[in-house]
Protein backbone atom coordinates (compact mmCIF):
# COMPACT_ATOMS: atom_id res chain seq x y z
CA UNK A 1 0.00 0.00 0.00
CA UNK A 2 2.76 2.45 0.99
CA UNK A 3 6.42 2.19 0.04
CA UNK A 4 8.88 4.86 1.14
CA UNK A 5 12.35 4.43 -0.30
CA UNK A 6 15.57 6.18 0.68
CA UNK A 7 13.72 9.35 1.65
CA UNK A 8 15.56 12.49 2.65
CA UNK A 9 13.99 15.70 3.96
CA UNK A 10 15.99 18.86 4.56
CA UNK A 11 14.97 22.16 6.15
CA UNK A 12 17.50 24.58 4.72
CA UNK A 13 20.87 23.16 5.69
CA UNK A 14 19.47 20.81 8.33
CA UNK A 15 18.73 17.21 7.45
CA UNK A 16 15.57 16.08 9.24
CA UNK A 17 15.48 12.53 7.87
CA UNK A 18 17.92 10.66 5.71
CA UNK A 19 17.83 7.33 3.88
CA UNK A 20 14.49 6.35 5.38
CA UNK A 21 12.78 3.34 3.82
CA UNK A 22 9.59 1.83 5.19
CA UNK A 23 6.80 -0.37 3.83
CA UNK A 24 3.21 -0.61 4.98
CA UNK A 25 1.09 -3.42 3.56
CA UNK A 26 -2.64 -3.12 2.98
CA UNK A 27 -4.64 -3.48 6.18
CA UNK A 28 -1.59 -3.18 8.45
CA UNK A 29 -1.18 -0.79 11.35
CA UNK A 30 2.44 0.26 11.53
CA UNK A 31 3.95 2.28 14.37
CA UNK A 32 6.87 4.70 14.15
CA UNK A 33 8.39 5.32 17.54
CA UNK A 34 11.20 7.60 18.51
CA UNK A 35 12.08 10.51 20.74
CA UNK A 36 11.22 14.11 19.99
CA UNK A 37 13.26 15.18 16.94
CA UNK A 38 13.75 11.64 15.66
CA UNK A 39 12.16 12.59 12.33
CA UNK A 40 8.77 10.90 12.68
CA UNK A 41 6.68 13.98 11.84
CA UNK A 42 9.00 14.93 8.98
CA UNK A 43 8.44 11.48 7.50
CA UNK A 44 4.66 11.76 7.87
CA UNK A 45 4.71 15.30 6.41
CA UNK A 46 6.76 14.09 3.45
CA UNK A 47 4.30 11.26 2.80
CA UNK A 48 1.28 13.58 2.79
CA UNK A 49 3.24 16.19 0.79
CA UNK A 50 3.39 19.02 3.31
CA UNK A 51 7.18 19.04 2.95
CA UNK A 52 9.09 18.26 -0.20
CA UNK A 53 11.53 15.35 -0.08
CA UNK A 54 14.96 16.28 -1.41
CA UNK A 55 15.71 12.68 -2.30
CA UNK A 56 13.96 9.31 -2.48
CA UNK A 57 10.44 8.26 -3.38
CA UNK A 58 7.00 7.68 -1.91
CA UNK A 59 4.70 5.21 -3.63
CA UNK A 60 1.08 4.79 -2.61
CA UNK A 61 -1.11 2.05 -4.05
CA UNK A 62 1.49 1.52 -6.76
CA UNK A 63 1.59 5.20 -7.76
CA UNK A 64 4.65 7.41 -7.45
CA UNK A 65 3.61 10.51 -5.49
CA UNK A 66 6.63 12.65 -6.39
CA UNK A 67 4.67 14.89 -8.74
CA UNK A 68 1.39 14.73 -6.79
CA UNK A 69 0.41 17.80 -4.74
CA UNK A 70 -0.52 17.60 -1.09
CA UNK A 71 -4.24 17.94 -1.81
CA UNK A 72 -3.88 15.39 -4.61
CA UNK A 73 -2.44 12.87 -2.16
CA UNK A 74 -5.38 13.40 0.19
CA UNK A 75 -7.80 12.94 -2.68
CA UNK A 76 -5.97 9.79 -3.72
CA UNK A 77 -7.01 8.29 -0.37
CA UNK A 78 -4.54 9.39 2.31
CA UNK A 79 -6.10 10.75 5.51
CA UNK A 80 -3.99 12.86 7.86
CA UNK A 81 -4.32 13.79 11.50
CA UNK A 82 -1.50 16.22 12.39
CA UNK A 83 0.62 16.45 15.48
CA UNK A 84 -0.85 18.94 17.94
CA UNK A 85 -4.42 18.40 16.56
CA UNK A 86 -4.48 21.64 14.54
CA UNK A 87 -8.25 21.83 14.34
CA UNK A 88 -9.68 24.83 12.48
CA UNK A 89 -10.28 26.94 15.60
CA UNK A 90 -12.91 29.37 14.32
CA UNK A 91 -15.00 26.70 12.62
CA UNK A 92 -17.65 24.57 14.30
CA UNK A 93 -16.99 20.95 15.18
CA UNK A 94 -19.29 19.79 12.36
CA UNK A 95 -17.59 22.04 9.81
CA UNK A 96 -14.17 20.83 10.98
CA UNK A 97 -15.11 17.20 10.53
CA UNK A 98 -16.85 17.70 7.21
CA UNK A 99 -14.03 19.82 5.78
CA UNK A 100 -12.20 16.53 5.37
CA UNK A 101 -15.03 15.23 3.21
CA UNK A 102 -16.35 18.32 1.50
CA UNK A 103 -14.92 17.32 -1.86
CA UNK A 104 -16.89 14.06 -1.67
CA UNK A 105 -20.41 15.36 -2.21
CA UNK A 106 -23.44 15.70 0.04
CA UNK A 107 -24.49 12.04 0.35
CA UNK A 108 -21.03 10.91 1.35
CA UNK A 109 -20.75 13.75 3.86
CA UNK A 110 -24.02 12.80 5.54
CA UNK A 111 -22.91 9.18 5.64
CA UNK A 112 -19.55 10.15 7.15
CA UNK A 113 -21.15 12.43 9.74
CA UNK A 114 -23.65 9.77 10.86
CA UNK A 115 -20.91 7.13 11.07
CA UNK A 116 -18.52 9.38 13.00
CA UNK A 117 -21.22 10.54 15.42
CA UNK A 118 -21.85 6.87 16.15
CA UNK A 119 -18.20 6.37 17.07
CA UNK A 120 -17.77 9.73 18.83
CA UNK A 121 -21.11 10.89 20.33
CA UNK A 122 -19.39 14.08 21.49
CA UNK A 123 -19.30 15.28 17.87
CA UNK A 124 -23.08 15.53 17.79
CA UNK A 125 -23.25 17.09 21.26
CA UNK A 126 -20.73 19.80 20.31
CA UNK A 127 -21.58 20.05 16.60
CA UNK A 128 -22.06 23.82 16.52
CA UNK A 129 -19.34 24.77 19.03
CA UNK A 130 -16.13 26.37 17.66
CA UNK A 131 -13.44 23.69 17.75
CA UNK A 132 -10.95 26.15 19.26
CA UNK A 133 -13.02 26.15 22.47
CA UNK A 134 -12.71 22.39 23.05
CA UNK A 135 -10.34 20.62 25.44
CA UNK A 136 -7.22 18.91 24.11
CA UNK A 137 -8.82 15.46 24.12
CA UNK A 138 -11.94 16.71 22.39
CA UNK A 139 -9.84 18.49 19.77
CA UNK A 140 -7.91 15.27 19.12
CA UNK A 141 -11.21 13.50 18.48
CA UNK A 142 -12.23 16.25 16.04
CA UNK A 143 -8.86 16.01 14.26
CA UNK A 144 -9.12 12.23 14.02
CA UNK A 145 -12.74 12.35 12.85
CA UNK A 146 -11.74 14.93 10.22
CA UNK A 147 -9.08 12.56 8.90
CA UNK A 148 -11.52 9.63 8.95
CA UNK A 149 -14.38 11.52 7.26
CA UNK A 150 -13.10 10.93 3.74
CA UNK A 151 -12.95 7.15 4.35
CA UNK A 152 -9.23 7.06 3.50
CA UNK A 153 -7.39 3.95 2.37
CA UNK A 154 -4.31 5.01 4.35
CA UNK A 155 -4.55 6.93 7.61
CA UNK A 156 -1.53 8.90 8.85
CA UNK A 157 -1.77 9.65 12.57
CA UNK A 158 0.93 11.90 13.96
CA UNK A 159 1.12 11.48 17.75
CA UNK A 160 -2.61 10.84 18.27
CA UNK A 161 -2.19 10.15 22.01
CA UNK A 162 0.15 13.02 22.84
CA UNK A 163 -0.74 14.65 26.15
CA UNK A 164 -4.12 12.95 26.47
CA UNK A 165 -5.83 11.67 29.61
CA UNK A 166 -6.55 7.90 29.74
CA UNK A 167 -10.24 8.41 28.98
CA UNK A 168 -9.41 10.08 25.68
CA UNK A 169 -6.69 7.55 24.85
CA UNK A 170 -9.33 4.83 25.21
CA UNK A 171 -11.70 6.65 22.84
CA UNK A 172 -9.01 7.31 20.25
CA UNK A 173 -7.87 3.68 20.46
CA UNK A 174 -11.44 2.53 19.93
CA UNK A 175 -11.75 4.72 16.84
CA UNK A 176 -8.51 3.34 15.43
CA UNK A 177 -9.88 -0.18 15.94
CA UNK A 178 -12.97 0.86 13.96
CA UNK A 179 -10.72 1.89 11.10
CA UNK A 180 -8.77 -1.35 11.37
CA UNK A 181 -12.01 -3.32 11.12
CA UNK A 182 -12.86 -1.41 7.95
CA UNK A 183 -9.56 -2.59 6.52
CA UNK A 184 -7.92 0.83 6.61
CA UNK A 185 -4.13 0.84 6.49
CA UNK A 186 -2.68 2.94 9.31
CA UNK A 187 0.73 4.51 9.87
CA UNK A 188 1.08 6.26 13.21
CA UNK A 189 3.82 7.91 15.20
CA UNK A 190 4.20 8.02 18.97
CA UNK A 191 6.76 9.04 21.53
CA UNK A 192 5.00 7.27 24.36
CA UNK A 193 4.38 3.97 22.66
CA UNK A 194 2.38 1.97 25.21
CA UNK A 195 -1.18 2.57 23.85
CA UNK A 196 0.02 2.55 20.24
CA UNK A 197 1.76 -0.81 20.60
CA UNK A 198 -1.58 -2.38 21.56
CA UNK A 199 -2.93 -1.36 18.18
CA UNK A 200 0.06 -1.91 15.89
CA UNK A 201 1.01 -5.01 13.95
CA UNK A 202 4.57 -3.89 13.16
CA UNK A 203 6.84 -1.00 13.92
CA UNK A 204 9.94 1.03 13.16
CA UNK A 205 12.21 2.77 15.62
CA UNK A 206 13.59 6.14 14.47
CA UNK A 207 16.51 8.04 15.92
CA UNK A 208 18.46 11.01 14.54
CA UNK A 209 16.40 11.10 11.34
CA UNK A 210 17.06 7.46 10.45
CA UNK A 211 15.29 4.15 10.85
CA UNK A 212 17.36 2.21 13.39
CA UNK A 213 15.22 -0.85 13.86
CA UNK A 214 12.12 -2.54 12.49
CA UNK A 215 10.22 -5.58 13.51
CA UNK A 216 7.16 -7.11 15.08
CA UNK A 217 5.35 -5.47 17.96
CA UNK A 218 7.14 -7.77 20.44
CA UNK A 219 10.54 -6.80 19.03
CA UNK A 220 9.70 -3.10 18.99
CA UNK A 221 8.37 -3.33 22.54
CA UNK A 222 11.78 -4.57 23.71
CA UNK A 223 13.50 -1.61 22.04
CA UNK A 224 10.90 0.76 23.41
CA UNK A 225 11.48 -0.57 26.91
CA UNK A 226 15.24 -0.25 26.54
CA UNK A 227 14.99 3.28 25.20
CA UNK A 228 12.28 4.35 27.66
CA UNK A 229 9.48 4.98 25.18
CA UNK A 230 7.11 3.06 27.43
Amino acid sequence: MLAVKDLEVRYGGITAISGVSIDVAEGETVLLIGANGAGKSSLINAIIGLVQASHGSVRFAGRDLSAVSCDGRARAGIGYSPEGRRVFPTMSVADNVLSGACWHGGASQRQAWAWLCGIFPILKERASQPAGQLSGGQQQIVALARAMSSFPKLLLLDEPFLGLAPVWIAQISEAIRHMQQRGTTILMTEQMARPALKLATRGYVMRGGEVRRSGTVAEIRDVALAEEYL
Binding site: D71, A74, R86, P89, T90
Partner: protein, 288 residues
Protein backbone atom coordinates in the same frame (compact mmCIF):
# COMPACT_ATOMS: atom_id res chain seq x y z
CA UNK B 1 -36.53 63.88 14.05
CA UNK B 2 -37.28 63.86 10.34
CA UNK B 3 -33.71 64.83 9.55
CA UNK B 4 -32.52 62.08 11.86
CA UNK B 5 -34.56 59.42 10.02
CA UNK B 6 -33.37 60.63 6.61
CA UNK B 7 -29.77 60.66 7.80
CA UNK B 8 -30.19 57.14 9.19
CA UNK B 9 -31.46 55.91 5.83
CA UNK B 10 -28.54 57.51 4.01
CA UNK B 11 -26.15 55.98 6.55
CA UNK B 12 -27.67 52.52 6.14
CA UNK B 13 -27.50 52.82 2.35
CA UNK B 14 -23.85 53.90 2.51
CA UNK B 15 -23.09 51.16 5.01
CA UNK B 16 -24.57 48.49 2.74
CA UNK B 17 -22.46 49.73 -0.18
CA UNK B 18 -19.34 49.76 1.96
CA UNK B 19 -20.13 46.32 3.34
CA UNK B 20 -20.40 44.79 -0.12
CA UNK B 21 -17.12 46.43 -1.05
CA UNK B 22 -15.25 45.59 2.15
CA UNK B 23 -16.41 41.96 2.24
CA UNK B 24 -14.32 41.25 -0.83
CA UNK B 25 -11.32 43.03 0.61
CA UNK B 26 -11.49 41.17 3.91
CA UNK B 27 -12.11 37.81 2.19
CA UNK B 28 -8.92 38.16 0.19
CA UNK B 29 -6.93 39.06 3.27
CA UNK B 30 -8.49 36.38 5.46
CA UNK B 31 -8.15 33.53 2.98
CA UNK B 32 -5.12 34.37 0.87
CA UNK B 33 -3.30 36.63 3.32
CA UNK B 34 -3.05 39.23 0.56
CA UNK B 35 -3.75 42.95 0.97
CA UNK B 36 -5.31 43.68 -2.39
CA UNK B 37 -4.27 47.16 -3.42
CA UNK B 38 -6.14 46.68 -6.69
CA UNK B 39 -9.51 46.43 -4.91
CA UNK B 40 -10.39 50.04 -5.67
CA UNK B 41 -9.32 49.47 -9.27
CA UNK B 42 -11.83 46.64 -9.67
CA UNK B 43 -14.52 48.98 -8.30
CA UNK B 44 -13.64 51.59 -10.93
CA UNK B 45 -13.40 48.97 -13.65
CA UNK B 46 -16.86 47.67 -12.70
CA UNK B 47 -18.22 51.19 -13.10
CA UNK B 48 -16.60 51.67 -16.50
CA UNK B 49 -17.62 48.23 -17.76
CA UNK B 50 -21.25 48.97 -16.85
CA UNK B 51 -20.98 52.44 -18.37
CA UNK B 52 -19.52 51.00 -21.62
CA UNK B 53 -22.15 48.26 -21.82
CA UNK B 54 -24.95 50.79 -21.44
CA UNK B 55 -23.45 53.54 -23.60
CA UNK B 56 -21.76 51.65 -26.43
CA UNK B 57 -23.64 48.34 -26.52
CA UNK B 58 -27.06 49.68 -25.58
CA UNK B 59 -27.53 47.12 -22.85
CA UNK B 60 -30.17 47.61 -20.17
CA UNK B 61 -28.55 48.87 -16.97
CA UNK B 62 -29.40 45.74 -14.94
CA UNK B 63 -27.73 43.50 -17.52
CA UNK B 64 -24.75 45.87 -17.70
CA UNK B 65 -24.31 45.56 -13.92
CA UNK B 66 -24.27 41.76 -14.20
CA UNK B 67 -21.77 41.91 -17.08
CA UNK B 68 -19.54 44.28 -15.11
CA UNK B 69 -19.57 41.95 -12.10
CA UNK B 70 -18.80 38.96 -14.32
CA UNK B 71 -16.03 40.87 -16.12
CA UNK B 72 -14.25 41.81 -12.89
CA UNK B 73 -14.79 38.28 -11.58
CA UNK B 74 -13.08 36.82 -14.65
CA UNK B 75 -10.20 39.29 -14.51
CA UNK B 76 -9.72 38.59 -10.79
CA UNK B 77 -9.68 34.84 -11.41
CA UNK B 78 -7.11 35.10 -14.20
CA UNK B 79 -4.92 37.52 -12.24
CA UNK B 80 -4.81 35.28 -9.17
CA UNK B 81 -4.40 32.05 -11.13
CA UNK B 82 -1.63 33.15 -13.48
CA UNK B 83 0.11 36.03 -11.69
CA UNK B 84 -0.52 36.20 -7.95
CA UNK B 85 -0.55 32.47 -7.25
CA UNK B 86 3.16 32.11 -8.07
CA UNK B 87 4.14 34.44 -5.23
CA UNK B 88 1.18 34.00 -2.91
CA UNK B 89 3.30 33.60 0.25
CA UNK B 90 5.57 36.56 -0.51
CA UNK B 91 3.78 39.51 1.06
CA UNK B 92 5.97 42.16 -0.56
CA UNK B 93 5.54 40.61 -4.01
CA UNK B 94 1.75 40.38 -3.68
CA UNK B 95 1.64 43.98 -2.49
CA UNK B 96 3.69 45.15 -5.46
CA UNK B 97 1.69 43.07 -7.94
CA UNK B 98 -1.71 44.26 -6.73
CA UNK B 99 -0.48 47.84 -6.59
CA UNK B 100 0.91 47.45 -10.10
CA UNK B 101 -2.38 46.04 -11.32
CA UNK B 102 -4.23 49.00 -9.82
CA UNK B 103 -1.92 51.46 -11.56
CA UNK B 104 -2.33 49.59 -14.84
CA UNK B 105 -6.12 49.57 -14.52
CA UNK B 106 -6.44 53.25 -13.64
CA UNK B 107 -3.93 54.29 -16.32
CA UNK B 108 -5.63 52.08 -18.90
CA UNK B 109 -9.01 53.56 -18.08
CA UNK B 110 -7.50 57.04 -18.31
CA UNK B 111 -6.10 56.27 -21.77
CA UNK B 112 -9.33 54.72 -23.06
CA UNK B 113 -11.93 57.02 -21.51
CA UNK B 114 -9.99 60.20 -20.75
CA UNK B 115 -9.82 62.11 -17.46
CA UNK B 116 -13.34 63.53 -17.51
CA UNK B 117 -16.19 61.92 -15.63
CA UNK B 118 -18.54 60.35 -18.17
CA UNK B 119 -22.27 60.96 -18.03
CA UNK B 120 -23.47 57.76 -16.38
CA UNK B 121 -26.84 58.18 -14.72
CA UNK B 122 -28.88 55.71 -12.73
CA UNK B 123 -31.85 54.61 -14.86
CA UNK B 124 -34.39 55.11 -12.08
CA UNK B 125 -34.93 58.55 -10.60
CA UNK B 126 -37.36 60.06 -8.16
CA UNK B 127 -37.89 60.10 -4.45
CA UNK B 128 -40.08 58.32 -1.96
CA UNK B 129 -41.63 60.63 0.60
CA UNK B 130 -42.18 59.57 4.19
CA UNK B 131 -43.44 61.56 7.16
CA UNK B 132 -41.44 64.67 6.55
CA UNK B 133 -38.44 63.00 4.93
CA UNK B 134 -37.61 61.65 1.50
CA UNK B 135 -35.31 59.01 0.10
CA UNK B 136 -34.05 58.83 -3.49
CA UNK B 137 -35.30 55.70 -5.26
CA UNK B 138 -31.84 54.85 -6.62
CA UNK B 139 -30.50 54.68 -3.07
CA UNK B 140 -33.23 52.23 -2.11
CA UNK B 141 -32.58 50.06 -5.17
CA UNK B 142 -28.85 49.99 -4.46
CA UNK B 143 -29.57 49.27 -0.78
CA UNK B 144 -31.77 46.34 -1.76
CA UNK B 145 -29.19 44.88 -4.15
CA UNK B 146 -26.42 45.34 -1.60
CA UNK B 147 -28.41 43.59 1.12
CA UNK B 148 -29.19 40.68 -1.20
CA UNK B 149 -25.48 40.59 -2.14
CA UNK B 150 -24.34 40.62 1.50
CA UNK B 151 -26.79 37.87 2.50
CA UNK B 152 -25.72 35.79 -0.51
CA UNK B 153 -22.08 36.09 0.50
CA UNK B 154 -22.94 35.05 4.05
CA UNK B 155 -24.89 32.07 2.75
CA UNK B 156 -22.01 31.11 0.49
CA UNK B 157 -19.37 31.40 3.19
CA UNK B 158 -21.24 29.78 6.08
CA UNK B 159 -23.64 27.30 4.48
CA UNK B 160 -21.88 25.75 1.49
CA UNK B 161 -19.00 23.34 0.95
CA UNK B 162 -17.20 26.09 -0.94
CA UNK B 163 -17.44 28.45 2.01
CA UNK B 164 -16.41 25.75 4.45
CA UNK B 165 -13.36 25.03 2.33
CA UNK B 166 -12.45 28.73 2.19
CA UNK B 167 -12.79 29.09 5.97
CA UNK B 168 -10.64 26.00 6.50
CA UNK B 169 -7.95 27.46 4.24
CA UNK B 170 -8.16 30.74 6.16
CA UNK B 171 -7.72 28.97 9.50
CA UNK B 172 -4.83 26.65 8.57
CA UNK B 173 -3.83 26.41 4.94
CA UNK B 174 -1.41 23.49 5.34
CA UNK B 175 -3.82 21.24 7.22
CA UNK B 176 -6.72 22.21 4.96
CA UNK B 177 -4.66 21.27 1.92
CA UNK B 178 -3.76 17.96 3.57
CA UNK B 179 -7.52 17.28 3.89
CA UNK B 180 -7.81 17.43 0.10
CA UNK B 181 -8.91 21.06 -0.32
CA UNK B 182 -7.41 22.52 -3.48
CA UNK B 183 -5.85 25.98 -3.11
CA UNK B 184 -5.02 25.96 -6.83
CA UNK B 185 -8.76 26.28 -7.52
CA UNK B 186 -10.08 27.78 -4.30
CA UNK B 187 -7.66 30.72 -4.13
CA UNK B 188 -8.48 32.05 -7.62
CA UNK B 189 -12.17 31.44 -6.91
CA UNK B 190 -12.00 33.43 -3.67
CA UNK B 191 -10.09 36.23 -5.36
CA UNK B 192 -12.59 36.25 -8.23
CA UNK B 193 -15.49 36.39 -5.79
CA UNK B 194 -13.95 39.41 -4.09
CA UNK B 195 -13.13 41.27 -7.30
CA UNK B 196 -16.61 40.44 -8.60
CA UNK B 197 -18.07 42.09 -5.49
CA UNK B 198 -15.90 45.17 -6.05
CA UNK B 199 -17.02 45.32 -9.70
CA UNK B 200 -20.66 44.86 -8.72
CA UNK B 201 -20.42 47.66 -6.17
CA UNK B 202 -18.71 49.93 -8.70
CA UNK B 203 -21.35 49.26 -11.35
CA UNK B 204 -24.14 49.92 -8.84
CA UNK B 205 -22.78 52.92 -7.04
CA UNK B 206 -20.85 54.99 -9.59
CA UNK B 207 -24.02 56.19 -11.39
CA UNK B 208 -25.14 57.68 -8.06
CA UNK B 209 -21.81 58.99 -6.78
CA UNK B 210 -19.28 59.60 -9.54
CA UNK B 211 -17.20 57.77 -12.13
CA UNK B 212 -13.63 58.81 -12.92
CA UNK B 213 -10.35 56.94 -13.48
CA UNK B 214 -8.86 57.71 -10.05
CA UNK B 215 -11.83 57.24 -7.72
CA UNK B 216 -10.30 53.92 -6.68
CA UNK B 217 -8.03 55.67 -4.15
CA UNK B 218 -10.74 56.74 -1.69
CA UNK B 219 -12.49 53.40 -2.24
CA UNK B 220 -9.34 51.53 -1.23
CA UNK B 221 -8.88 53.84 1.76
CA UNK B 222 -12.46 53.25 2.91
CA UNK B 223 -12.13 49.48 2.47
CA UNK B 224 -8.93 49.56 4.53
CA UNK B 225 -10.60 51.62 7.22
CA UNK B 226 -13.53 49.23 7.44
CA UNK B 227 -11.55 45.99 7.61
CA UNK B 228 -9.15 47.46 10.17
CA UNK B 229 -12.08 48.66 12.26
CA UNK B 230 -13.91 45.34 11.94
CA UNK B 231 -10.83 43.19 12.48
CA UNK B 232 -8.63 42.02 9.62
CA UNK B 233 -10.07 38.97 7.93
CA UNK B 234 -13.36 39.01 9.86
CA UNK B 235 -16.40 38.82 7.57
CA UNK B 236 -18.85 39.74 10.35
CA UNK B 237 -16.56 42.49 11.60
CA UNK B 238 -16.29 44.05 8.15
CA UNK B 239 -20.06 44.13 7.79
CA UNK B 240 -20.67 45.74 11.19
CA UNK B 241 -17.80 48.19 10.64
CA UNK B 242 -19.15 49.13 7.21
CA UNK B 243 -22.47 50.15 8.73
CA UNK B 244 -20.70 52.05 11.53
CA UNK B 245 -18.63 53.92 8.94
CA UNK B 246 -21.70 54.54 6.77
CA UNK B 247 -23.67 55.96 9.70
CA UNK B 248 -20.73 57.97 11.01
CA UNK B 249 -20.14 59.42 7.55
CA UNK B 250 -23.80 60.31 7.06
CA UNK B 251 -24.27 61.90 10.50
CA UNK B 252 -20.97 63.76 10.51
CA UNK B 253 -21.61 65.06 6.97
CA UNK B 254 -25.07 66.33 7.95
CA UNK B 255 -24.34 67.66 11.44
CA UNK B 256 -20.64 68.61 11.20
CA UNK B 257 -20.17 69.40 7.52
CA UNK B 258 -18.46 67.54 4.68
CA UNK B 259 -14.78 68.08 5.49
CA UNK B 260 -15.26 67.60 9.22
CA UNK B 261 -17.10 64.36 8.51
CA UNK B 262 -14.03 62.61 7.16
CA UNK B 263 -11.97 63.90 10.08
CA UNK B 264 -14.58 62.62 12.55
CA UNK B 265 -14.49 59.23 10.88
CA UNK B 266 -10.73 58.87 11.14
CA UNK B 267 -10.80 60.04 14.77
CA UNK B 268 -13.48 57.43 15.49
CA UNK B 269 -11.33 54.69 13.95
CA UNK B 270 -8.24 55.90 15.82
CA UNK B 271 -10.10 55.84 19.14
CA UNK B 272 -11.48 52.39 18.36
CA UNK B 273 -8.04 51.04 17.59
CA UNK B 274 -6.54 52.54 20.74
CA UNK B 275 -9.27 50.88 22.79
CA UNK B 276 -9.24 47.61 20.83
CA UNK B 277 -6.24 47.30 18.47
CA UNK B 278 -7.43 44.04 16.90
CA UNK B 279 -10.61 45.73 15.69
CA UNK B 280 -14.19 44.98 16.68
CA UNK B 281 -14.12 41.29 15.80
CA UNK B 282 -10.42 40.72 15.32
CA UNK B 283 -8.96 37.28 15.79
CA UNK B 284 -6.08 35.27 14.41
CA UNK B 285 -7.18 34.35 10.90
CA UNK B 286 -4.24 32.41 9.55
CA UNK B 287 -2.77 29.31 10.99
CA UNK B 288 0.88 28.41 11.10
Amino acid sequence: MQGFVATCLIGISLGAQYALLALGFTLIFGILGVVNFAHGGFYVLGGYLAYSAVTYLGMPYALAVICAALGTTLLGFLFERFVLDRVIDDHLATLMLTLGLYLMMSSGILVVFGPQSPAFAFPLTGVIHGHGFFVPIENLVVLGVCIVGILSIYGLIYYTDFGRALRALADDRAVATAQGLRPAILFPAAFALATGLAGLTGALVTPILSLAPHIGDPVLATSFLIVILGGLGSVGGATVAAFIVGMAEAFSAVYLGGSKGALALFVLVLVMLVVKPSGLFGHRVRGA
